[in-house]
């Protein structure tokens, strides 16, 4: 029982860490010495300087979705601990699972919008490739979904 609980918590914390890293780190698009992410575009090389990203509406919606997913995931973790101590025997962690699933959906929509619309604010050249923060965001989506489903089918004992 304790092992299962530990495993579930580790999964949830992993999802949270993935969300935080992919939101904060500046590596969504990589172009030679140039990196761009949700918040700023940085140029490395001889001179390292950063500019804030454009104020495009689609970029703002991607930022909003990533922030919402973090909020939902943190809320879900907090609610999990609440429900662990207050739920009746045989009850299911519905609220926790629903928030975690919502977080997963938010990450997916953020990554999808970014994929479709990143040419609006960042001219695509030949050697522009997706950075690891973008991949982490896509990774966080199935993990968050799985974590949420595990919460929904889990039943509380003793």
């Amino acid at each position: 029982m304790l092992l299962l609980l530990l495993g579930i918590i580790v999964l949830h914390v992993t999802v949270l860490v993935l969300l935080f890293v992919s939101t904060i780190v500046s590596q969504w698009l990589v172009n030679g010495g140039h990196t761009a992410d949700l918040w700023q575009n940085c140029t490395s090389g001889s001179v390292f300087h950063c500019l804030t990203s454009s104020t495009n509406e689609w970029l703002q919606s991607v930022q909003a979705m990533m922030i919402l997913s973090i909020i939902f995931s943190v809320l879900s973790l907090f609610l999990f601990f609440c429900q662990l101590f207050t739920l009746t025997k045989g009850g299911r962690f519905y609220v926790t699972g629903i928030f975690q699933i919502l977080a997963g959906l938010c990450v997916m929509s953020a990554a999808a919008i970014f994929t479709v619309r990143h040419t609006d604010w960042h001219q695509a050249s030949e050697d522009t490739s997706y950075g690891f923060a973008y991949i982490l965001a896509w990774l966080a989506f199935p993990l968050a979904l799985a974590s949420g489903i595990v919460y929904v089918i889990l039943r509380k004992r003793e």
Binding site: L4, T55, E57, Q63, R155
Partner: protein, 248 residues
């Protein structure tokens, strides 16, 4: 002695006079305008200019507006107010588009430009002179003309986050409200059940177990109150779920 006293007395008087006069305020005229003004093509925009002068506003006050187009190096005069008369540009690029809405006695020297165009992008300078108070800096305002005014950064961001959180809060509140009403109804039902006799109770328990198919909460409550009978029902209902959580 009396001369010394008289001398010191006059010195004191002089000192008192000087202290009354100064630290005199820096007597210059201060002009204030906005830094940047945004306008859309075809609409109108107000270029406001206010000033502060330490002297009384006389009839000799003069207000001038100059315009320097974006990318150009010369500055043309487009408006002049002197001796109580406004003189508006009627031959230049602002011909029939400018309107004087200021009032020097209210320390306001604003103008309005109608029917904006992309050629109006540039810097406007407001200069006020109020004799004898003529020393001072003029102030500049930059006009940006857009097709449509860009929304400020953060409006879309904040509205998406706020709207989603509000929606979630409303849904959670609704769910808890519905569950609360449902629980109250089940509590009333249980009270009615426990008021009846034991024999009648067994018959109604069979009915209640049929109802428990759609009401998991009821199943949980009967589980608390009854010891033996609903355990078999619990096993029948909970078997698929329990097998998953069997290893502890």
């Amino acid at each position: 002695m009396s001369q010394g006293a008289g001398g010191s007395g006059s010195l004191l008087l002089l000192a008192g006079l000087l202290s009354a006069l100064g630290p005199s305020p820096t007597s210059s005229i201060h002009v204030y305008t906005q830094r940047e003004v945004y306008g859309t093509v075809g609409s109108h925009v107000t270029l406001s200019c206010s000033f502060w002068s330490s002297e009384w506003i006389s009839e000799d006050i003069s207000i001038t507006w100059h315009f320097q187009a974006e990318g150009s190096r010369d500055s043309t005069s487009i408006f002049h107010y002197a001796k109580g008369q406004p003189y508006i540009d009627d031959v230049g690029s602002f011909k029939e588009r400018m309107e004087w809405v200021g009032n020097p006695h209210r320390k306001d020297g604003s103008i309005v430009i109608h029917n904006l165009d992309y050629t109006d992008n540039g810097t406007f300078t407001c200069d006020v002179k109020n004799p004898p108070d003529i020393v001072g800096k003029s102030s500049q305002v930059t006009l940006y003309v857009f097709e449509k005014v860009p929304t400020r950064y953060g409006v879309v961001l904040g509205s998406i986050i706020g709207g989603a959180l509000l929606l979630v809060a409303v849904v959670v509140a609704l769910v808890y409200l519905i569950r609360y009403c449902w629980l109250r109804r089940q509590a009333a039902l249980q009270r009615r059940l426990s008021a009846m006799e034991k024999g009648k109770l067994q018959r109604s328990a069979k009915d209640a177990s049929k109802r428990s198919r759609q009401a998991p909460v009821l199943y949980a409550m009967l589980d608390h109150s009854r010891g033996t009978k609903p355990v078999s029902e619990k096993k029948a209902k909970g078997a698929p779920g329990d097998s998953r959580k069997d290893k502890k």
